[in-house]
Symmetry: C2
Subunit: 126 residues, 2 copies
């Protein structure tokens, strides 16, 4: 699967322009934006801060994607993770997946996000 | 839930600019594009044609959304369905969902799409 992983200190655009072409056998594009909410736990916040051990984070993400791809064959994935300060209402992460049918795209994206918080060395700081 | 349903003869933009604001308690935006593939069954196609009984299709979609919303409370949904000729590589449908957490957004979108083909009076013609 074509895999692109990007870290950025800039705001993630919404909508995100995914430059990757859509193949003639792509039937589904699923895109997810994880946004900062004003209420974190029971506390009001203005922003969260993200730091990463970026090379290791990319390595772990690529391993997770390679494992998930065996269950859910997809065509392409693009992940953009913002680092630094992310204000309320803005995106910390964007994930886009192209696949033949929507089922595998949705399942890969959901399982990737469920696993993401466990092992990827990206830290969220209030 | 804020619900917007649009039929259009124009190409659905990718990325789609969803003008609806993201609330300060929106943590997830999930977007889906259903694209025309070159292979339909075992046949090569150049395009599909869509026709709708639009007022009834909107009514049925709103009923489905109202039922799904009870299981998966979300904040806003936007559906754009293209009618007329849709060439390979272009989108027949766009669905965007804003929700507090990603789980309910993903589940509502998937169940909506699973149910969509059954009862909504939109016809796909080769």
């Amino acid at each position: 699967m074509r895999t692109e992983i990007i870290f950025t200190q800039e705001a993630i655009a919404r909508p995100q322009a995914w430059n990757g072409p859509v193949g003639s056998e792509t039937g589904s594009l699923v895109e997810f934006y994880g946004l900062i909410r004003e209420t974190e736990g029971e506390e009001k916040i203005a922003a969260l801060h993200y730091e990463a051990y970026a090379s290791m984070a990319e390595k772990v993400m690529r391993e997770k994607i390679a494992a998930l791809e065996k269950k859910y064959p997809c065509q392409a994935i693009r992940i953009v993770h913002r680092l630094g300060t992310v204000p309320v209402g803005q995106s910390a992460i964007y994930v886009g997946i192209q696949s033949r049918h929507r089922r595998e795209g949705f399942l890969l994206l959901q399982e990737f996000m469920d696993e993401f918080k466990n092992d990827v060395p990206i830290w969220k700081i209030k």
